[in-house]
Subunit: 219 residues, 2 copies
């Protein structure tokens, strides 16, 4: 999944509330200028009609950047919008159903916490797994147990060739360690969405991701 790994370096997950009134497309555009390699639109409170309109708008604003757009949870919205990918959690549609619905041409990511969940997701058609939560974070208050750097390392060890993203409380201070522990990249919500300068925030995290990859290449 080399295309998948390249786009996983810095994966921005949106959060409208954290954008503090700024248009999502504006924050996303600045994050991409700073080095974000993928964007996931996550909308837990919008009806599917408005969600679809938001995806369509972001899709237009990302056109020509090469940065793929993922839709969280709603496979139907992803299909209607012609999104590049869809991401499902353990409480969403099962990975096998999501893959069956989107066909082979759409990227599919699945949130996992253990090597067993990761193995099953990949067998069911996931292009990448997202280890979550690495650290505890206020944007997912219901997550009670963080997997830590050990959790990332455990999944990398169990699945050496898998495309592995890490999410949960990741920012410029810890991104290097997360990637060094085995992630192909990091997914970030608040450290970018709530930053007054999303471009600088993204650039700083992206630098740390690249430093982490460098550490793994020359240990």
């Amino acid at each position: 999944m080399s295309r998948c790994c390249d786009v996983l370096r810095l994966y921005l997950v949106t959060d409208r509330e954290l954008a503090g009134g700024r248009p999502l497309a504006e924050v996303v555009e600045r994050a991409v200028r700073g080095g974000a390699t993928a964007v996931q639109l996550r909308e837990k409170a919008l009806g599917a009609g408005r969600f679809l309109a938001e995806v369509a708008e972001l899709k237009r604003s990302l056109a020509g950047t090469g940065v793929p757009l993922f839709v969280n949870d709603r496979v139907d919205v992803a299909l209607a919008a012609g999104a590049d990918g869809v991401h499902v959690g353990q409480d969403d549609l099962p990975a096998a159903e999501a893959r069956r619905l989107v066909g082979p041409g759409v990227l599919l990511g699945v949130s996992v916490a253990t090597p067993e969940e990761a193995r099953r997701a990949l067998a069911d058609g996931a292009d990448y797994v997202s280890v979550s939560p690495v650290f505890l974070t206020p944007t997912k208050p219901d997550a009670e147990v963080a997997v830590g750097l050990e959790g990332v390392a455990r999944i990398r060890k169990a699945l050496p060739d898998a495309a592995v993203l890490a999410i949960g409380g990741i920012d410029a201070r810890n991104a290097r360690a997360v990637v060094a522990a085995g992630a192909d990249g990091v997914a970030v919500v608040s450290a970018i969405m709530s930053s007054p300068d999303p471009q600088a925030a993204a650039a700083a995290i992206r630098d740390e991701v690249e430093a982490g990859l460098e550490l793994r290449r020359s240990p």
Copy 2:
């Protein structure tokens, strides 16, 4: 859409909270025994994974009854479950997108409040429109304006051949008048879901629907 009209006579929309701890499948089964002709599973609080499991369970329990199962809002869940139909509101995926995703073999219903919305929904591929809300109801506290019997009559007059369902505050006391005003059938939530005897409640409403159809046949 004659198949559609036959199944619209008494269309049960589920509400887990109103079932008061009874398994949904049990309430549904009793309603079907009482004369419900269609069932829509509506779950605004469940993740798609559990929603899909519930649809699958209801599908099994309806197998062989000839009663079609509709999924509210989530086109992806309907597709994954192989449901007979899907129902979208004005805030959900647009009817045209829903039709494109499900193809021609799945029934599609759309909530409307005006003849204009009804005309557009039918042009976009709806098999039936659901006029809503006919009366104000505690299960949809956000709906502020009821269309009344006049709203039903207006849509019937504008679209004489359309399959028209009516929903919102309908029970055995008003179902006859709603059908007499032009609906092909009624959708019911609380009058069945919260009844201690869903079979008797469904039978009483179904009788009133048939009486309303009789009134329209011999005015």
